[in-house]
Symmetry: C2
Protein backbone atom coordinates (compact mmCIF):
# COMPACT_ATOMS: atom_id res chain seq x y z
CA UNK A 1 0.00 0.00 0.00
CA UNK A 2 1.78 3.04 -1.33
CA UNK A 3 0.43 5.61 1.15
CA UNK A 4 1.47 3.48 4.12
CA UNK A 5 4.93 2.79 2.71
CA UNK A 6 5.46 6.50 2.12
CA UNK A 7 4.52 7.27 5.73
CA UNK A 8 6.95 4.63 6.97
CA UNK A 9 9.75 6.07 4.82
CA UNK A 10 8.94 9.64 5.86
CA UNK A 11 8.24 9.18 9.57
CA UNK A 12 9.50 5.74 10.59
CA UNK A 13 12.71 5.54 12.58
CA UNK A 14 14.96 2.53 12.91
CA UNK A 15 16.27 1.99 16.44
CA UNK A 16 18.84 -0.48 17.73
CA UNK A 17 17.44 -3.99 18.18
CA UNK A 18 15.58 -4.00 14.86
CA UNK A 19 12.90 -1.73 16.27
CA UNK A 20 10.99 0.28 13.69
CA UNK A 21 9.28 3.17 15.39
CA UNK A 22 6.08 4.32 13.72
CA UNK A 23 4.51 5.79 16.82
CA UNK A 24 3.74 9.10 15.13
CA UNK A 25 0.92 7.64 13.08
CA UNK A 26 0.24 4.01 14.06
CA UNK A 27 0.61 3.06 17.69
CA UNK A 28 0.92 5.97 20.09
CA UNK A 29 -0.20 8.98 18.14
CA UNK A 30 -2.68 7.58 15.58
CA UNK A 31 -3.63 9.07 12.21
CA UNK A 32 -7.17 7.75 12.00
CA UNK A 33 -7.69 8.89 8.42
CA UNK A 34 -4.75 6.69 7.41
CA UNK A 35 -6.34 3.89 9.47
CA UNK A 36 -9.52 4.23 7.42
CA UNK A 37 -7.50 3.97 4.19
CA UNK A 38 -5.87 0.83 5.58
CA UNK A 39 -9.35 -0.53 6.36
CA UNK A 40 -10.39 0.08 2.75
CA UNK A 41 -7.25 -1.68 1.54
CA UNK A 42 -7.90 -4.77 3.69
CA UNK A 43 -11.35 -4.92 2.12
CA UNK A 44 -9.68 -5.64 -1.24
CA UNK A 45 -8.05 -8.80 0.16
CA UNK A 46 -10.86 -10.24 2.28
CA UNK A 47 -14.51 -10.80 1.54
CA UNK A 48 -15.93 -8.68 4.35
CA UNK A 49 -19.48 -9.95 3.75
CA UNK A 50 -18.12 -13.31 4.86
CA UNK A 51 -16.88 -11.96 8.22
CA UNK A 52 -18.89 -12.00 11.47
CA UNK A 53 -16.43 -10.33 13.79
CA UNK A 54 -13.03 -8.62 13.86
CA UNK A 55 -10.51 -9.73 16.47
CA UNK A 56 -7.36 -8.00 17.68
CA UNK A 57 -5.21 -7.78 20.80
CA UNK A 58 -4.81 -4.84 23.14
CA UNK A 59 -3.49 -2.27 23.01
CA UNK A 60 -1.93 -1.20 19.75
CA UNK A 61 -4.28 -3.17 17.50
CA UNK A 62 -7.41 -1.52 18.86
CA UNK A 63 -7.45 1.83 17.04
CA UNK A 64 -7.02 0.31 13.57
CA UNK A 65 -9.47 -2.51 14.27
CA UNK A 66 -12.13 -0.13 15.64
CA UNK A 67 -11.98 1.90 12.46
CA UNK A 68 -12.14 -1.26 10.32
CA UNK A 69 -15.15 -2.40 12.36
CA UNK A 70 -16.91 0.92 11.86
CA UNK A 71 -16.27 0.95 8.11
CA UNK A 72 -17.34 -2.68 7.64
CA UNK A 73 -20.34 -2.43 9.99
CA UNK A 74 -19.10 -5.38 12.08
CA UNK A 75 -18.50 -5.79 15.81
CA UNK A 76 -14.94 -6.09 17.09
CA UNK A 77 -13.44 -7.94 20.03
CA UNK A 78 -10.05 -7.27 21.53
CA UNK A 79 -8.14 -9.84 23.54
CA UNK A 80 -7.08 -8.51 26.93
CA UNK A 81 -3.60 -8.99 28.28
CA UNK A 82 -4.10 -9.36 32.01
CA UNK A 83 -6.77 -10.70 34.25
CA UNK A 84 -8.87 -7.87 35.62
CA UNK A 85 -11.83 -7.94 37.96
CA UNK A 86 -14.06 -7.19 35.01
CA UNK A 87 -13.47 -10.57 33.36
CA UNK A 88 -14.89 -13.48 35.32
CA UNK A 89 -14.71 -17.16 34.30
CA UNK A 90 -15.39 -18.50 30.84
CA UNK A 91 -12.25 -17.41 29.04
CA UNK A 92 -10.30 -18.49 26.00
CA UNK A 93 -6.61 -18.13 26.83
CA UNK A 94 -3.38 -18.21 24.91
CA UNK A 95 0.08 -17.62 26.31
CA UNK A 96 2.43 -15.63 24.12
CA UNK A 97 5.83 -14.01 24.50
CA UNK A 98 5.85 -10.24 24.15
CA UNK A 99 9.17 -9.16 22.70
CA UNK A 100 8.24 -5.53 23.22
CA UNK A 101 7.81 -6.07 26.95
CA UNK A 102 10.21 -9.03 27.30
CA UNK A 103 7.79 -11.23 29.18
CA UNK A 104 5.08 -13.85 28.92
CA UNK A 105 1.63 -12.45 28.43
CA UNK A 106 -1.70 -14.27 28.43
CA UNK A 107 -4.25 -13.20 25.85
CA UNK A 108 -7.80 -13.52 27.17
CA UNK A 109 -11.15 -13.44 25.39
CA UNK A 110 -14.45 -14.03 27.16
CA UNK A 111 -16.23 -17.07 25.73
CA UNK A 112 -19.36 -14.96 25.40
CA UNK A 113 -17.93 -13.06 22.46
CA UNK A 114 -16.62 -15.72 20.05
CA UNK A 115 -18.96 -18.59 19.31
CA UNK A 116 -18.44 -21.83 17.37
CA UNK A 117 -18.72 -21.32 13.64
CA UNK A 118 -18.22 -17.56 13.75
CA UNK A 119 -16.11 -16.26 10.88
CA UNK A 120 -13.30 -14.20 12.36
CA UNK A 121 -11.03 -11.71 10.62
CA UNK A 122 -7.98 -10.93 12.73
CA UNK A 123 -6.52 -7.42 12.40
CA UNK A 124 -3.29 -6.06 13.82
CA UNK A 125 -1.12 -3.01 13.38
CA UNK A 126 2.27 -4.67 13.45
CA UNK A 127 3.66 -8.15 12.84
CA UNK A 128 7.19 -8.98 13.95
CA UNK A 129 7.73 -12.47 15.32
CA UNK A 130 3.99 -13.08 15.07
CA UNK A 131 3.44 -14.14 18.68
CA UNK A 132 0.32 -12.05 19.24
CA UNK A 133 -1.20 -13.31 16.00
CA UNK A 134 -0.31 -16.90 16.85
CA UNK A 135 -2.14 -16.40 20.15
CA UNK A 136 -5.18 -14.90 18.45
CA UNK A 137 -5.32 -17.81 15.97
CA UNK A 138 -5.19 -20.21 18.92
CA UNK A 139 -8.14 -18.43 20.53
CA UNK A 140 -10.16 -18.63 17.29
CA UNK A 141 -9.42 -22.37 17.25
CA UNK A 142 -10.36 -22.83 20.92
CA UNK A 143 -13.66 -21.15 20.18
CA UNK A 144 -14.38 -23.53 17.31
CA UNK A 145 -14.63 -20.44 15.12
CA UNK A 146 -13.31 -20.06 11.60
CA UNK A 147 -10.31 -17.89 10.77
CA UNK A 148 -11.11 -16.00 7.57
CA UNK A 149 -7.68 -14.39 7.50
CA UNK A 150 -5.34 -11.88 9.06
CA UNK A 151 -4.93 -8.31 7.93
CA UNK A 152 -1.82 -6.58 9.16
CA UNK A 153 -0.67 -3.03 8.46
CA UNK A 154 3.11 -3.40 8.79
CA UNK A 155 5.11 -6.63 8.81
CA UNK A 156 8.80 -7.02 9.59
CA UNK A 157 9.42 -9.61 6.87
CA UNK A 158 12.98 -10.24 7.98
CA UNK A 159 11.83 -11.61 11.35
CA UNK A 160 9.90 -14.42 9.68
CA UNK A 161 6.72 -14.35 11.80
CA UNK A 162 4.46 -13.61 8.83
CA UNK A 163 6.00 -16.26 6.60
CA UNK A 164 5.60 -18.87 9.35
CA UNK A 165 1.87 -18.08 9.43
CA UNK A 166 1.65 -18.24 5.61
CA UNK A 167 3.40 -21.63 5.61
CA UNK A 168 0.71 -22.89 7.99
CA UNK A 169 -1.87 -21.88 5.38
CA UNK A 170 -3.12 -18.71 7.06
CA UNK A 171 -4.57 -16.16 4.63
CA UNK A 172 -2.36 -13.29 5.81
CA UNK A 173 -2.07 -9.96 4.04
CA UNK A 174 0.29 -7.25 5.25
CA UNK A 175 0.16 -3.89 3.52
CA UNK A 176 3.82 -3.01 3.94
CA UNK A 177 6.39 -5.79 4.43
CA UNK A 178 9.76 -4.47 5.52
CA UNK A 179 12.66 -6.66 4.38
CA UNK A 180 15.53 -4.50 5.55
CA UNK A 181 15.62 -1.77 8.17
CA UNK A 182 18.73 0.29 8.79
CA UNK A 183 18.77 3.94 9.82
CA UNK A 184 17.94 5.87 6.66
CA UNK A 185 17.44 2.70 4.62
CA UNK A 186 14.10 0.89 4.82
CA UNK A 187 13.48 -1.62 2.02
CA UNK A 188 10.08 -3.19 1.31
CA UNK A 189 9.29 -6.62 -0.10
CA UNK A 190 7.83 -6.44 -3.59
CA UNK A 191 4.04 -6.82 -3.63
CA UNK A 192 2.64 -10.13 -4.92
CA UNK B 1 -27.77 9.88 25.84
CA UNK B 2 -30.82 7.69 25.45
CA UNK B 3 -29.34 5.03 23.15
CA UNK B 4 -26.40 4.45 25.50
CA UNK B 5 -28.61 4.28 28.59
CA UNK B 6 -30.84 1.75 26.89
CA UNK B 7 -27.84 -0.44 26.05
CA UNK B 8 -26.64 -0.25 29.65
CA UNK B 9 -30.08 -1.25 30.94
CA UNK B 10 -30.42 -4.04 28.39
CA UNK B 11 -26.91 -5.51 28.42
CA UNK B 12 -25.11 -4.15 31.48
CA UNK B 13 -24.62 -6.45 34.43
CA UNK B 14 -23.94 -5.44 38.00
CA UNK B 15 -21.32 -7.59 39.72
CA UNK B 16 -20.19 -7.63 43.35
CA UNK B 17 -17.82 -4.77 44.21
CA UNK B 18 -19.83 -2.13 42.35
CA UNK B 19 -18.60 -3.41 39.01
CA UNK B 20 -20.84 -2.60 36.08
CA UNK B 21 -19.99 -4.90 33.21
CA UNK B 22 -20.61 -3.45 29.77
CA UNK B 23 -18.08 -5.57 27.95
CA UNK B 24 -20.56 -6.67 25.32
CA UNK B 25 -20.56 -3.28 23.60
CA UNK B 26 -17.98 -0.96 25.18
CA UNK B 27 -14.73 -2.47 26.36
CA UNK B 28 -14.10 -6.02 25.23
CA UNK B 29 -16.54 -6.61 22.42
CA UNK B 30 -17.11 -3.15 20.93
CA UNK B 31 -20.13 -1.92 18.98
CA UNK B 32 -18.39 0.62 16.79
CA UNK B 33 -21.61 2.03 15.38
CA UNK B 34 -22.65 2.93 18.92
CA UNK B 35 -19.18 4.45 19.40
CA UNK B 36 -19.80 6.68 16.38
CA UNK B 37 -23.11 7.83 17.86
CA UNK B 38 -21.27 8.61 21.10
CA UNK B 39 -18.74 10.60 19.07
CA UNK B 40 -21.55 12.62 17.52
CA UNK B 41 -23.02 13.23 20.97
CA UNK B 42 -19.72 14.52 22.38
CA UNK B 43 -19.61 16.96 19.47
CA UNK B 44 -22.71 18.64 20.90
CA UNK B 45 -20.87 19.45 24.15
CA UNK B 46 -17.45 20.46 22.86
CA UNK B 47 -16.41 22.80 20.09
CA UNK B 48 -14.45 20.32 18.02
CA UNK B 49 -13.05 23.06 15.76
CA UNK B 50 -11.26 24.26 18.86
CA UNK B 51 -9.53 20.90 19.46
CA UNK B 52 -6.07 19.95 18.14
CA UNK B 53 -5.81 16.44 19.47
CA UNK B 54 -7.76 13.74 21.31
CA UNK B 55 -6.12 12.02 24.27
CA UNK B 56 -7.06 8.79 26.01
CA UNK B 57 -5.40 5.98 27.97
CA UNK B 58 -4.85 2.41 26.87
CA UNK B 59 -6.53 0.07 26.51
CA UNK B 60 -10.28 0.49 26.87
CA UNK B 61 -10.40 4.16 25.82
CA UNK B 62 -8.77 3.52 22.47
CA UNK B 63 -11.66 2.15 20.38
CA UNK B 64 -14.04 5.01 21.24
CA UNK B 65 -11.35 7.65 20.85
CA UNK B 66 -10.19 6.31 17.48
CA UNK B 67 -13.72 6.57 16.16
CA UNK B 68 -14.11 10.09 17.58
CA UNK B 69 -10.78 11.04 15.95
CA UNK B 70 -11.91 9.67 12.58
CA UNK B 71 -15.24 11.48 12.73
CA UNK B 72 -13.71 14.78 13.83
CA UNK B 73 -10.74 14.55 11.44
CA UNK B 74 -8.26 14.96 14.33
CA UNK B 75 -5.26 12.92 15.42
CA UNK B 76 -5.43 10.93 18.63
CA UNK B 77 -2.82 9.97 21.19
CA UNK B 78 -3.16 7.23 23.76
CA UNK B 79 -1.17 7.14 26.96
CA UNK B 80 0.66 3.86 27.44
CA UNK B 81 0.63 2.00 30.69
CA UNK B 82 4.05 0.38 30.86
CA UNK B 83 7.49 1.21 29.66
CA UNK B 84 8.27 -0.72 26.50
CA UNK B 85 11.41 -0.71 24.35
CA UNK B 86 9.53 1.29 21.78
CA UNK B 87 9.32 4.39 23.97
CA UNK B 88 12.67 6.00 24.63
CA UNK B 89 13.32 9.16 26.70
CA UNK B 90 11.23 12.31 26.56
CA UNK B 91 8.11 11.21 28.36
CA UNK B 92 5.31 12.85 30.28
CA UNK B 93 4.42 10.59 33.19
CA UNK B 94 1.64 10.35 35.71
CA UNK B 95 1.23 7.71 38.35
CA UNK B 96 -2.30 6.51 38.97
CA UNK B 97 -3.97 3.71 40.87
CA UNK B 98 -5.82 1.21 38.74
CA UNK B 99 -8.74 -0.16 40.72
CA UNK B 100 -9.47 -2.64 37.96
CA UNK B 101 -6.01 -4.18 38.27
CA UNK B 102 -5.43 -3.26 41.95
CA UNK B 103 -2.02 -1.72 41.39
CA UNK B 104 -0.11 1.45 40.62
CA UNK B 105 0.22 2.17 36.95
CA UNK B 106 2.25 4.87 35.24
CA UNK B 107 0.66 6.63 32.28
CA UNK B 108 3.24 7.60 29.68
CA UNK B 109 3.01 9.94 26.70
CA UNK B 110 5.99 10.76 24.48
CA UNK B 111 6.76 14.49 24.57
CA UNK B 112 6.82 14.48 20.77
CA UNK B 113 3.04 14.17 20.62
CA UNK B 114 1.69 16.86 22.92
CA UNK B 115 3.17 20.31 22.53
CA UNK B 116 2.75 23.49 24.59
CA UNK B 117 -0.43 25.33 23.70
CA UNK B 118 -2.12 22.36 22.01
CA UNK B 119 -5.84 22.16 22.75
CA UNK B 120 -6.57 18.69 24.06
CA UNK B 121 -9.92 16.93 24.37
CA UNK B 122 -9.66 13.90 26.65
CA UNK B 123 -11.96 10.98 25.85
CA UNK B 124 -12.60 7.86 27.89
CA UNK B 125 -15.06 5.00 27.93
CA UNK B 126 -15.62 4.73 31.64
CA UNK B 127 -15.19 6.97 34.67
CA UNK B 128 -15.28 5.47 38.15
CA UNK B 129 -12.89 6.96 40.68
CA UNK B 130 -11.41 9.10 37.92
CA UNK B 131 -7.79 8.08 38.43
CA UNK B 132 -7.00 7.58 34.74
CA UNK B 133 -8.58 10.94 33.88
CA UNK B 134 -6.71 12.66 36.71
CA UNK B 135 -3.50 11.22 35.25
CA UNK B 136 -4.36 12.37 31.73
CA UNK B 137 -5.13 15.89 33.01
CA UNK B 138 -1.75 15.91 34.74
CA UNK B 139 -0.04 14.97 31.48
CA UNK B 140 -1.85 17.78 29.62
CA UNK B 141 -0.59 20.16 32.31
CA UNK B 142 2.98 18.84 32.16
CA UNK B 143 2.93 19.42 28.41
CA UNK B 144 1.84 23.04 28.87
CA UNK B 145 -1.15 22.16 26.73
CA UNK B 146 -4.72 23.31 27.26
CA UNK B 147 -7.46 20.95 28.44
CA UNK B 148 -10.59 21.73 26.40
CA UNK B 149 -12.63 19.19 28.33
CA UNK B 150 -13.30 15.54 28.99
CA UNK B 151 -15.89 13.44 27.22
CA UNK B 152 -16.77 10.21 28.93
CA UNK B 153 -19.27 7.58 27.81
CA UNK B 154 -20.31 6.08 31.16
CA UNK B 155 -19.71 7.53 34.62
CA UNK B 156 -20.32 5.83 37.94
CA UNK B 157 -21.69 8.94 39.65
CA UNK B 158 -21.89 7.25 43.04
CA UNK B 159 -18.10 6.85 43.18
CA UNK B 160 -17.55 10.60 43.00
CA UNK B 161 -14.63 10.70 40.57
CA UNK B 162 -16.51 12.78 38.01
CA UNK B 163 -17.82 15.27 40.53
CA UNK B 164 -14.31 15.77 41.94
CA UNK B 165 -13.14 16.72 38.43
CA UNK B 166 -16.14 19.07 37.96
CA UNK B 167 -15.39 20.76 41.30
CA UNK B 168 -11.88 21.45 40.03
CA UNK B 169 -13.46 23.28 37.09
CA UNK B 170 -12.94 20.61 34.45
CA UNK B 171 -15.43 20.75 31.59
CA UNK B 172 -16.53 17.12 31.92
CA UNK B 173 -19.49 15.60 30.10
CA UNK B 174 -20.53 12.00 30.66
CA UNK B 175 -23.30 10.62 28.50
CA UNK B 176 -24.74 8.22 31.06
CA UNK B 177 -24.15 8.84 34.77
CA UNK B 178 -25.10 5.88 36.92
CA UNK B 179 -26.25 6.86 40.41
CA UNK B 180 -27.28 3.46 41.66
CA UNK B 181 -26.30 0.00 40.48
CA UNK B 182 -27.84 -3.11 41.93
CA UNK B 183 -28.53 -6.31 40.01
CA UNK B 184 -31.62 -5.58 37.95
CA UNK B 185 -31.78 -1.96 39.11
CA UNK B 186 -29.59 0.61 37.41
CA UNK B 187 -30.59 4.23 38.02
CA UNK B 188 -29.23 7.19 36.05
CA UNK B 189 -28.66 10.76 37.19
CA UNK B 190 -31.04 13.21 35.53
CA UNK B 191 -29.45 15.09 32.59
CA UNK B 192 -28.60 18.77 33.15
Amino acid sequence: MQELKERILKEGRVLPGDIIKVDGFLNHRVDCELMSHIADEFAKYFNIDDVDILLTAEASGIALTAICALRYGKPMVYAKKAKSDNIEGGLFKSEIISYTYKKKVTLLVAKDWIKPGMRVLVIDDFLARGEALRGLCEIVEQAGAQLVGIGCAIEKGFQGGGDRLRERGVNLHSLAIIEKAEPGNIVFREDD
